[in-house]
C-alpha cells in the first residue's frame, strides 16, 4: 500500500449496507447474485473503500488477496517498465473488477485518477461464499478474465487499429462507460469528464501527444467530439462515433 492507504469503512451490523442500496453498479457486479438478505449477511467481510485522487489501490508485483469492484470514479492501471517508465495499460471504470488474477500477485499498479469508491471482497470470503451461492462462482468465472480481457482488448487496439480508430474507440468507450446525459438532448448526446490526462491517453493509445491533439482536432472539425475544457468533452452522437470504430468495442 502507499503511505496513505485507502480508508476502510465497515458497515454496521444488521441491515443492507447503505452503500449497497444506492450502489450504481450492483446489477453488474457479483452482488447481483445476492438477495438483500444475503448481502446483509456478508457485510462483516465486505468493506467499502474510498480513495482520494492519486492514491494507489494496489502496486504491481505486490500480493493481492482482495477482489475490488469499482463503484465510482476511474483508476489508472499501469506497469513499470524496465527503464523506469510507466506504461498505462488501461483504466478501470465503475463496474470493473480489480484483483481477479490467479497468482495472487498484482500485475499492475492501480491509482485513483479522481476520488474513487470501491467494494472489497477478500478472496477467502469469496471462496466460502461460492459454496453457498453457486451463482457467484459462475459469475466470477465468467468475469474472471476481466483483467485478461482488458489486456487482450489493448492488444487488439494497438495491433489492428489505425491511429484515428484508436482515438475514436477510446472516446466511444469513455462515452459508454462515463458519459452523462445532458438535459434537453437526445440519449446519445453525452458529456464526459476526462479523469485522465492527455499524456495518459496518448500513452495508452501508443501515440504521441502531438498526434493525439491532431487527431482530436480532426474529430472536433467533424463535430464528433466537442471540447468544453481540458477535462470535459461532449460527444454529440455516441452512435455515430461508434459506427466509425470499424473494430469491435473495447
Amino acid at each position: 500500500m502507499a503511505s496513505q492507504g485507502p480508508t476502510l469503512s465497515c458497515q454496521g451490523a444488521g441491515e443492507l449496507p447503505i452503500v449497497c442500496s444506492i450502489c450504481s453498479v450492483r446489477a453488474d457486479s457479483i452482488c447481483a447474485d445476492l438477495t438483500d438478505t444475503e448481502l446483509a449477511n456478508i457485510r462483516g467481510s465486505m468493506s467499502h473503500v474510498d480513495l482520494q485522487k492519486s492514491q494507489a489501490l494496489i502496486h504491481e508485483d505486490e500480493p493481492i488477496d482482495t477482489l475490488y469492484v469499482v463503484t465510482a470514479g476511474v483508476l489508472r492501471l499501469s506497469k513499470l517498465l524496465e527503464d523506469g517508465r510507466q506504461q498505462v495499460t488501461g483504466f478501470a471504470y465503475p463496474g470493473d473488477f480489480i484483483g481477479l488474477n490467479r497468482h495472487g500477485i498484482s500485475n499492475f499498479t492501480a491509482e485513483a485518477l479522481v476520488d474513487v469508491s470501491l467494494c472489497s471482497f477478500p478472496h477467502v470470503m469469496l471462496d466460502r461464499l461460492s459454496e453457498d451461492h453457486p451463482g457467484i462462482k459462475t459469475r466470477l468465472i465468467r468475469n474472471a478474465d476481466t483483467e485478461l480481457s482488458k489486456a487482450y482488448a489493448h492488444m487488439m487496439l494497438l495491433g489492428q487499429k489505425t491511429v484515428l480508430e484508436r482515438v475514436i474507440t477510446f472516446f466511444h468507450m469513455l462515452g459508454e462507460r462515463m458519459g452523462a446525459p445532458v438535459e434537453g438532448e437526445e440519449d446519445t448526446f453525452v458529456q464526459v469528464a476526462l479523469a485522465m490526462s492527455r499524456r495518459d491517453i496518448a500513452d495508452f493509445l501508443a501515440i504521441r501527444l502531438e498526434t493525439l491533439s491532431r487527431t482530436l482536432r480532426q474529430l472536433k472539425e467533424d463535430d464528433l467530439v466537442r471540447e468544453i475544457d481540458r477535462r470535459t468533452v461532449i460527444i454529440p452522437d455516441l452512435d455515430a462515433l461508434g459506427e466509425m470504430r470499424v473494430m469491435p468495442d473495447l
Binding site: 527503464d83 517508465r85 489492428q160
Partner: protein
C-alpha cells in the same frame, strides 16, 4: 554528398555476421516466429536502415519498401511490443531529408505505436545539417544525434575526402543544442591515414572542446605491421579522453559524467548490442531495411542485403529476412558473460550457468584461456566470479573474446600483452 564510413575501420554489423555462421535456414519463418513471441508491453528497439545517396526515385522506392516491411512485421507482432528506442542508421551518407524521416516515423506510430518517451537517435553527416534541419529534427522528436567526425586534422580529413573543420562541427552542435537536442555523440577514429599520436591528441582535444556527451572511438582490428602504430594511436586517444574527464564505458565508448550513458553504467543498466553500448532496456532489436539485422535473445537474423531481392520478398508479402542463426542456451550464456565483462568488468559464471541451465564445464576451455590474463593480473578469478580490475579496462574486449567460441583464443594474447 558521400560520407562513407572508412572501410578499414572495423566493420560493426558485418563483423558479427561473419563471426556467426549464418544460414538461410534461419530466415523469414524464424523471424515471424520471433516477432510473434514478443510480449504485450515488452520493450523493443527498432533499427532503421535509411538509403545511401541514391536518386530521388530510388529513395522513394526504398522508403515504400521500408513501410511495407513495417506493416508485415506489425502484423506478425499483433499489437505487442513497446517501442522504447529507434535508431536511424545510414542517414549520414545522404543529404538529409526530414520529410523521409517523418514518413517513416508516422508509419512506426501507426504500426507499432510511439510515445513521447521513445528515444530517437540519428546518425548524421555534419556537413549536410542546416539550422532548419536541426529545428525540423527536433520537431520530429529526435533526441540523440551521432556525428561522424572521425578526426579534425586537415591532413587526415583531406585523405578521407571529408573536409569538415572543427568550426563547422561546432556550429552544427550549437544548432542542435539551441533546438533542444542535447544528446550529442561523436564517432572518432584511430588508424586513419596521416594520423600521428600528436595529431590524434590534438584532434581529441578539439572534439572535447565541443563537449559531446559521448565519444565512440573506432579503429581497425589490430593486425600485421600496423598493429603497433594503431595501438599507440588508440592508447593516446583513450588517455586524452579520460584525462579530459570522460569515463570509459565498455571498451570503446567514452561518456561525460552525468550523461545518460555514464549514469546507466553507474547504475548497472548498460547493455551491449550491435548498436554498441547503450542504456536501452530492450532485449529485442528489430531491423528494417536492406541488410538490417534483427536481434533476439535466442536468434540473430539479417535482412536480404541485395536490394532487388529485398523488394522481391516484399512484393510477395514476405518478411525480407535472408539468413540468421539460432542461439543455443550455451550461446546465450556466452553472450551474457561477454556482455557482463564488457559492460561491468565483472561476471559470475555460476549464476549465468544456472540461469541458462548449462554446465559450468562448458566454459572449461575459456577458463583455461584466461590463465595467462590471470597470471598477468589483468583478471582476478575468485570461485566463479571473474573481475577485470580497472586498469585492465582497455583489455576487456580481449578478455571477453575468450568466451566467444567463434574467435580463436590462441592469437589474442600476443597482441594483447
Amino acid at each position: 554528398m558521400k560520407n562513407q564510413r572508412p572501410s578499414y575501420l572495423a566493420p560493426r554489423e558485418s563483423d558479427l555476421v561473419m563471426a556467426h555462421s549464418f544460414t538461410p535456414q534461419v530466415g523469414a519463418g524464424a523471424l515471424a516466429q520471433r516477432l510473434a513471441g514478443i510480449g504485450l508491453y515488452e520493450p523493443i528497439a527498432l533499427s532503421i536502415h535509411l538509403p545511401f545517396d541514391d536518386s530521388e526515385a530510388q529513395t522513394s522506392r526504398y522508403l515504400d519498401g521500408l513501410l511495407d516491411e513495417m506493416r508485415l512485421a506489425a502484423k506478425a507482432m499483433a499489437g505487442c511490443g513497446r517501442v522504447v528506442h529507434i535508431q536511424f542508421k545510414g542517414s549520414r551518407a545522404t543529404a538529409l531529408k526530414v520529410d523521409h524521416l517523418s514518413r517513416v516515423l508516422d508509419e512506426i506510430e501507426r504500426q507499432f505505436g510511439l510515445t513521447d518517451e521513445t528515444s530517437l537517435a540519428l546518425e548524421i553527416n555534419p556537413r549536410v545539417v542546416s539550422y532548419q534541419d536541426a529545428e525540423d529534427l527536433s520537431r520530429l522528436g529526435i533526441t540523440q544525434v551521432s556525428l561522424a567526425v572521425y578526426d579534425f586534422s586537415p591532413a587526415v580529413q583531406r585523405a578521407l575526402g571529408q573536409v569538415q573543420p572543427a568550426r563547422m562541427v561546432t556550429e552544427v552542435v550549437a544548432a542542435f543544442r539551441v533546438v533542444g537536442i542535447f544528446e550529442i555523440g561523436f564517432e572518432m577514429a584511430y588508424g586513419l591515414p596521416n594520423q600521428s599520436v600528436r595529431s590524434i591528441e590534438k584532434s581529441i582535444l578539439q572534439a572535447v572542446d565541443i563537449k559531446p556527451d559521448q565519444v565512440v572511438l573506432a579503429g581497425p582490428e589490430p593486425k600485421g605491421a600496423q598493429a603497433g602504430t594503431c595501438d599507440a594511436l588508440m592508447k593516446a586517444a583513450q588517455q586524452m579522453l579520460t584525462n579530459q574527464g570522460y569515463s570509459m564505458i565498455g571498451f570503446n565508448h567514452f561518456a561525460l559524467p552525468g550523461s545518460s550513458l555514464a549514469q546507466a553504467a553507474c547504475q548497472g543498466r548498460l547493455k551491449h548490442s550491435l548498436q554498441g553500448f547503450s542504456d536501452t532496456p530492450a532485449k529485442v532489436t528489430i531491423g528494417f531495411g536492406a541488410a538490417a539485422i534483427s536481434q533476439f535473445p535466442n536468434a540473430i537474423i539479417q535482412n536480404e542485403p541485395d536490394v532487388a531481392k529485398y523488394y522481391e520478398a516484399l512484393a510477395s508479402a514476405k518478411l525480407p529476412a535472408a539468413r540468421g542463426v539460432h542461439l543455443s542456451r550455451e550461446d546465450q550464456l556466452r553472450a551474457a558473460v561477454i556482455d557482463d565483462l564488457l559492460c561491468h568488468l565483472e561476471t559470475d559464471l555460476a549464476k549465468h550457468c544456472s540461469h541458462f541451465n548449462v554446465k559450468l564445464s562448458a566454459l572449461d576451455a575459456a577458463l583455461k584461456a584466461l590463465d595467462p590474463f590471470a597470471s598477468k593480473g589483468v583478471v582476478t578469478i575468485r570461485e566463479s566470479v571473474i573481475r577485470i580490475p580497472e586498469p585492465g579496462r582497455a583489455m576487456a574486449q580481449r578478455v571477453a573474446n575468450v568466451f566467444d567460441v567463434q574467435k580463436p583464443t590462441h592469437t589474442q594474447l600476443s597482441s594483447a600483452l
